[in-house]
Symmetry: C2
Subunit: 293 residues, 2 copies
């Protein structure tokens, strides 16, 4: 089965496990709305690729871990879109959650997806309680306070923003979770995989800045120029377009160099290159047009 | 050490573990603000009492579990107080989180506390990965969708409310988590402990309805008459004050009868009776005044 098919099936099962029982129908409907149709599912793709490179021995666990990571990512998008943050009307080409449902349901949907991500990992304990609890440790560490995406988003409420901490936790944290969780799924230590996730996250951030600066709203499926509008820091503003592209290439080279020795090292390097081409294709650079995720 | 001292110390350690690193300062400050000063810490008190009644063999694990449960409860209060839900100005005698800080920080604080509750449980794996992962399973099940407090809160967004499902998940779920997590901490099965938690939760709900109907704002530390204001269902509206008190007594008797056989059965029954007297003291009933939690 292709990685993308595995991920879609696992995300579908995860959403199903949040339904039924005595649940109210409208909140139930938000779960699927938040995760489908998905974006590129980049984080679970990286997680699965790392697990395979490490000699994946429990693919069912990898699938649950990838779904948990994607649910957490989708939860963060639902909450980031809220009126008190970005007040976004659109997300992935359709109305944002609070526009389609309501603000209370958007808050609750995000909360439910966060909790569900941990629930499905706990329910995977028959595949190995030790690995399940390590996965929960890494996912919670990279999602919450003081090191995760919540901490990153919290920087937007400070009078003075720490640019490096902001990007590292807001965008980088879930990429570190992706590489580390992939390694854990295959029974490997998480620590050597931090650098790869960190650098993929940095590349993603630069690519996002390029997209935000150059793309039109139509391609993005969400309003363009949001960084400029909210006065947020941006690699293009700092280095210019050419400088930002150069920086992107350097980070990708560093990411590939950081891959720990493992049986699937070459395939993983290939995946990182393909990922880079997808984020910022060579022909897009010369035309100053970068496709949406 | 007294149970209440154990709980305060454990909650303090849990908050500390959410600080440091590269965290932004204002969001950091919300964590302590959300959990201190606390209410009666009823849920961790029940959890600890059940663990002790079951022959508690790993008190450090009990303390972490109690703190995790309390963080989840506090997170739910922060989100419930948001303008899009109860729009509460006050909580526990001080300004609600979004009033004291801001709405973005209230959303993020709740998210961070939810995630931190799972993080501290995952970090307790050296005390037993099997027990840690079971604790995460129960806490997530009783917090999220489809069986937890998120599902309960979600009923308020439905055109037609299922009264039984609403109370059971909004209020009862974390009491079931309390009894089940207590049993797990002591290495016992969770399932036989569901009834006790369920009935304590129901008693709590009836007592809350009595308080909400009878108390003045001063005693509660939050606006009184909220149920009436929001058109929410209420035991006093259904049974009258005398009927609601009778129902409360019946539920407590049922709760005591449901306690599974264990070494500390008598002490646990005593705790439930003391808890009942605290919620609805005999002298308060005749005077129609019920003290706040």
């Amino acid at each position: 089965m292709r990685i993308s098919d595995r991920i879609e099936a696992a995300v579908g099962r995860a959403v199903q496990s949040g339904l039924g029982g005595m649940a109210p129908s409208r909140l139930s409907a938000t779960l699927d709305y938040a995760v489908n149709p998905g974006g590129a599912r980049i984080r679970p793709t990286i997680l699965t690729s790392v697990a395979m490179a490490c000699g994946e021995d429990r693919p069912e666990l990898t699938d649950v871990a990838g779904a948990a990571l994607e649910l957490m990512h989708c939860a963060s998008l639902v909450h980031d879109d809220l009126p008190c943050f970005d007040d976004a009307d659109m997300r992935r080409g359709k109305p944002s959650m609070h526009r389609a449902f309501s603000e209370p349901l958007a808050v609750l949907s995000g909360d439910s997806l966060i909790i569900l991500s941990f629930h499905i990992l706990a329910r995977a304990a028959p595949l190995g309680a030790d690995r399940a609890v390590q996965l929960i440790d890494v996912l919670s560490n990279r999602s919450g306070m003081p090191n995760g995406i919540c901490a990153g988003q919290g920087w937007e409420s400070e009078a003075k923003i720490d640019l490096s901490a902001y990007h590292k936790s807001k965008t980088g944290a879930l990429f570190i979770a992706a590489t580390q969780m992939g390694a854990i799924c295959a029974g490997q230590g998480a620590e050597p995989w931090e650098d790869l996730g960190d650098q993929i996250g940095e590349a993603f951030q630069v690519a996002d800045d390029l997209r935000d600066a150059l793309c039109d709203e139509c391609t993005l499926g969400k309003p363009a120029g949001q960084d400029d509008l909210h006065g947020r820091p941006n690699a293009v503003a700092t280095f210019g377009v050419t400088g930002a592209v150069k920086r992107f290439d350097d980070i990708i080279a560093g990411a590939i160099a950081s891959i720990p020795a493992c049986s699937g090292e070459a395939a993983l390097a290939q995946m990182v290159r393909a990922y880079a081409d997808r984020l910022v294709p060579a022909n897009a650079r010369t035309h100053n047009v970068v496709p949406g995720e």
